[in-house]
Structure formats: structure tokens, C-alpha cells
Symmetry: C2
Subunit: 329 residues, 2 copies
DNA sequence: ATGAAAGCGCTAACAG
DNA sequence: CTGTTAGCGCTTTCAT
């Protein structure tokens, strides 16, 4: 900055102001500064700016996996909402593991983000403490925690799957199975399974057709394997709800391989409204949790919370929408 | 840090050393420091550390879209390879736009990353200059640029698609179409289309069955629309190569909707070896560009380059593997 | 509209 | 194994 200042013939302070588009710098000076910087190959150093101003411009975000279109949509929504605020996302992956999440949260907080957005409402005690004491807005997403740490933008995974059960029951199914969610790592998957069991019991139906699959991410292959097991062991199953559209598509593919009609013989439903659900044949009945909106609302909350630090914690409850398609009768 | 030092009864310097696991701090002291910090709720401040030590621990990474399993795999490979080096990814999205890429690169360089990994080999002049002058290892990926800025981990998109043409021709197809890649934003898609044209001409075949789709990301829906157009306008097409597995799956779905046999009437091939290619029925012939390996090799290059700053630029050329499956005869 | 002085919270360098 | 001193490159604050 001193070098630039010398070339332009001003003080470093003026260069600093010019780079921040401070109104008190004359347009002429600003242009001269930018030109000199470009000529010298000077690139502004955020690390120093950050230390002195105590503003990093980071929002920390944790998601279970980078390879998941739903979470990617949430990150996009966040990103779009934060950019006009001059905030940038610092992203980390938890691998669906709350212990990795704890380590990740600590690592992220060391970078002094101005807010933090986490996926899910279940954390280790230490992670909860770190978040609560960080002195920045905390937003839990994709869930409705019983004891929120700060703000919440989420929905009830259990209730959403309950609606899917209602949908299938209304269409005459009684022997309904659930695929996925038995790994205690994927808490949202587990919530969905519990929602399935509760809803089935509410209808007085047998809620024991549960196919556990391995550790998350539960993907297409696992869905196909689970469906194969189900067709072998409980061939009279009328409908299957899968923990996500990806496993639902795997299940559908397995049926196609075996020549089993969907929805003729078995109905299949998913979760997430991934692009594949709208594309495949038959297209998949699913639940759309509005992942992009989750990110967008979180960005709004951050804007509000940073503008008025004392404000109350918000809890925005979204209602996933059931999309009825050809894979269920 | 001073507060922690006071509680433990040592100097801030010792606390600093304890937090960096400096070997010269006794185990007892280290434990006392960690405990005191935990009790006080002290969280190490990387922003100050970064400024003084001139080491941010960041590796900047640009990808076209967060919502793409191939690029996500590359980021995973990078992430896994960088973690043991104590490096963290600072990720940004270019939206398949080299002007957004330029702005993004500048923004990322301000954070003083220790290396930068970019997707693709086509950049604005200013972006090239910024990268070349950054004084850190630069790695271009997913492409083989004619004039690399620094290191390269990539493959020839054109050549890979050429091999797919060979594969189809060897199986008797002559009327082959290409879907995608006509938007000049997606340079890899364009390279694939050019590779298609070159290979067709090499075989003395008509290379005009090109279906342009909109701006990237070209996804399932666009693939289905393109296939619909193709089936309407050129119904004697024997085989279709799609710019990615996602559009290939869209194309396959359109065929299924119309009752057109795949591969009986039309063969379909994709690119990327996404999970869907192995799952769908019929499963899709495709090219696997080893996206995870790209990230892993880039991480290795970074390790080497940071260890020996003067070393030569590496160019690691990968060979995408043709996976022959049921969607092509 | 511009400048001077001080300092953000840590660590390099050196000393012992 | 531990401590002292100085300073990383900016920006806050105050002055003009």
C-alpha cells in the first residue's frame, strides 16, 4: 500500500480509503490509486484488513457432504443472499459425523466468521458450547431442534414423512416399507424413519418394514440393494418410502431390472425433489424441502442480526411440499 | 492469549507455542494451557496468526458450480489431500463464466491463499496476470491448456470424446449426434463438441448432427429437451453422445417416455461416470475422467511445490476411461 | 479531502 | 524449555 501511495503521491491512508470506496476520497484520486495498483500488481491484503477492522467478511457454513444437490442448493441460496452484503462463505464438510462437526466448527471459529450456519440441530455438547459462546449469529438449518442455540431455518423431517405416509395410505396402500435412516450418524434420516413409524402407528398399520442401509450418504446403489432385499424378503410390499430421491431412484432401477411394475406392483416415494425425481420414468413422488429457500432465509437472518445485534432469535419453520407424481398410485 | 497466559502463569509466547503443538513446550504446560483456554472459552485467533506468520493455511479453489458431482469429487480429493498438510479449502463458484472467474480470483487472492486451483484452462487476460503474479503455485485442472500458467492436472476433453466416437463407430453406428456444448461459456463442453466433430470427420462421417442446448449447467431437463428435438428432426439417428451423464440420462428418459428402445433403436453415451450412469436401466456407457484423482494429484503438487518453491511446473495428463455399458450396442 | 499515530492479536527472531 | 522485543499490513481515531 505504501508503494502504491508513493507512486500516486498520497499517503497510504488515502490508498486504503480508495480501496474501500470511501466517499471522502475524490474520484480522481481513487482512479489514480486503482491504476497505480494495477500497474504495480498490488493486490489488497484482506488478512491485515481483517485483523485491524475485526471484520473478516466470512460466514462459516457446515454441510454434511459437498456431494449432495440439496445442500448445494442451500449453499447457493446463502451465497446469493450474502454476496450483496459483502460476505463470503467459508465452507466445511462434516461427513455426517457430529464429532467431525465439532472439530470443524472449532477450526472455522478460529477464522473469526461473522456468523455461522450449521446443518442440523444435533451437536456434541462442546460444539454447542463453542457455538453459543462465539458471540456471532448462529443458525441451525434443515431441522427443528428442541433447544435451538440461536436462529433456526428448518422443518420437521418426521412430520414431512408422516405426510407421505398419509398420501400413500389415502391411495390404498397398507403394506408400506421405509428404506434408509438407520445409521445414527444421519440424524435427519433417523428423524424421517421415526416419522414413518409414528405415522404408520397412527394409521394402525404395521411399521416394521424397515430396511436399514449403511452409513450415509445413502445413495442410489444403497437404495437398489435395499430394494433387492425388500423384494426378496417381503415381496408383498405395496409401497416404499425412501430416505432420499437418490435411494428412491436406486430402488426404482432395481424394480425395472426385475421387471416389477412401478407403480403397478410397488409404489415408490423419495425425499428432496432432486432433479432426477422429475426426470426419471416414472417420475418420482417426493417431498420438496425448499433447500434454496433455507439458504436464502438464513442469509436474511444474518443481514438482520448483523444490523441489529441485540435482536431476538428467529425460528423460521418451512413446510416441505408433497409432489405427487407417477411413481405412486 | 494474555488471559490464558495469566491463568497458567506463563508468558503469552508459551501459550502461542502450546497451541501450535510446538515440541519445545512441555506436555504438562501444554495441557495446562489447553485446559485454561477451554475454561476461559478462549478460541485461537487465526486472523492474527495469519498476518504475522504470513501463512493463511488456505488453498483457493474455483469450480464452475457447487452443484455438480464431478467437481465435488475433485474438491473432495483436494480436501483429503490437503488436510494432512494443515491446509483448508477456500471455495468459490464461477458459474461457468470467465468474467465472474476473474472477479472471484481477485477476491480469493486478497485472502492470501498459499496455492490456487482453478477449473479449466481458459481465463481472461487479467485473470491470467493475477494468477501468474500471485507468487503462489497455480494449478489448472480438468483441461490441458496450450499455455499453462503453472501446473496442470487434466485431460483432453476433445480426445476423450473422440474415443467415444471410435467406440460407437466400431459397433456399427454411422449416424451419430452430439448433444450439448454449444454455449461458449462451458469451455469443456465446447472442447467435447469439437472433439466429436474432429473424430467424426476422421471417420469420414457426417458431423452435423449437433444439438445445441442453453447455457450451462446442462442438466437432465436440457438433455431430455434436446433428445426430443433430435427424435423429431432426425429420427434416423443411431447414436447420441451427450456432454454429460446428466443430459444423457435426460435423453434416455425421453426415449423411455416415447417407447424408443435404448440401445435397440438409439444408443446413448454420456460423460463423467456419475453415479446415475451405473444405476439407471439400461446403465449408461460413459467416460470416467477420474475427478477425485484430479483433486488428489493437485493436492500432491501443492505439497511438493510448497516444500520446494523453486521446482518446475508439473503437467499431469490423465486419460479418461471409457466405460462400456448397456446403453450402447 | 487527506494525513499522523497507534494498535488489531498473534509469531519470527533472538536470547537465555 | 521459556521469555522479550518488534512488527506483520492494514484501519481506527483524531486532527487539519
Amino acid at each position: 500500500m505504501q508503494d502504491v501511495a508513493r507512486v500516486v503521491g498520497v499517503s497510504p491512508m488515502t490508498v486504503s480509503r480508495a480501496f474501500r470506496n470511501d466517499a471522502s476520497v475524490s474520484e480522481k484520486t481513487r482512479e489514480a490509486v486503482v491504476k497505480a495498483a494495477e500497474d504495480l500488481g498490488y493486490v489488497f491484503d484482506s488478512t491485515a484488513s481483517t485483523l485491524r477492522s475485526q471484520r473478516t467478511g466470512f460466514v462459516a457454513v457446515t454441510i454434511p457432504s459437498i456431494n449432495n444437490a440439496n445442500f448445494a442448493d442451500t449453499v447457493r441460496g446463502l451465497s446469493e443472499g450474502l454476496k450483496p452484503q459483502g460476505l463470503q462463505i467459508l465452507l466445511g464438510y462434516t461427513d455426517y459425523d457430529i464429532h467431525k462437526e465439532e472439530a470443524l466448527i472449532e477450526q472455522l471459529l478460529r477464522r473469526r466468521p461473522e456468523a455461522i450456519v450449521v446443518t442440523g440441530g444435533k451437536h456434541t455438547d462442546r460444539a454447542r458450547r463453542l457455538l453459543a459462546n462465539a458471540g456471532i449469529p448462529v443458525i441451525e438449518t434443515w431441522d427443528l431442534p428442541d433447544h435451538p442455540i440461536g436462529h433456526v431455518v428448518g422443518f420437521s423431517n418426521a412430520q414431512a414423512v408422516g405426510e407421505m405416509v398419509d398420501h400413500l395410505v389415502a391411495r390404498g396402500a397398507t403394506r408400506i416399507a421405509f428404506i434408509g435412516g438407520d445409521a445414527d450418524r444421519d440424524t435427519r434420516g433417523t428423524d424421517r424413519r421415526l416419522g414413518f413409524i409414528a405415522a404408520m402407528q397412527r394409521h394402525g398399520l404395521d411399521a416394521t418394514r424397515l430396511v436399514a442401509v449403511g452409513a450415509p450418504p445413502i445413495s442410489m446403489r444403497e437404495g437398489a440393494l435395499a430394494m433387492a432385499g425388500l423384494l426378496d424378503s417381503l415381496p408383498d410390499t405395496e409401497a416404499v418410502i425412501c430416505v432420499s430421491d437418490l435411494s428412491a431412484f436406486g430402488a426404482l432401477s432395481e424394480c425395472q431390472r426385475r421387471g416389477i411394475a412401478v407403480p403397478g406392483q410397488v409404489s415408490i416415494a423419495g425425499f428432496g425433489d432432486y432433479e432426477i425425481a422429475a426426470t426419471c420414468v416414472p417420475d418420482l413422488t417426493t417431498l420438496n424441502p425448499f433447500p434454496h429457500d433455507i439458504g436464502a432465509k438464513a442469509a436474511q437472518i444474518i443481514a438482520t442480526a448483523l444490523a441489529s445485534p441485540g435482536c431476538d432469535a428467529q425460528c423460521i419453520k418451512l413446510a416441505p411440499k408433497l409432489i405427487s407424481r407417477a411413481s405412486t398410485r
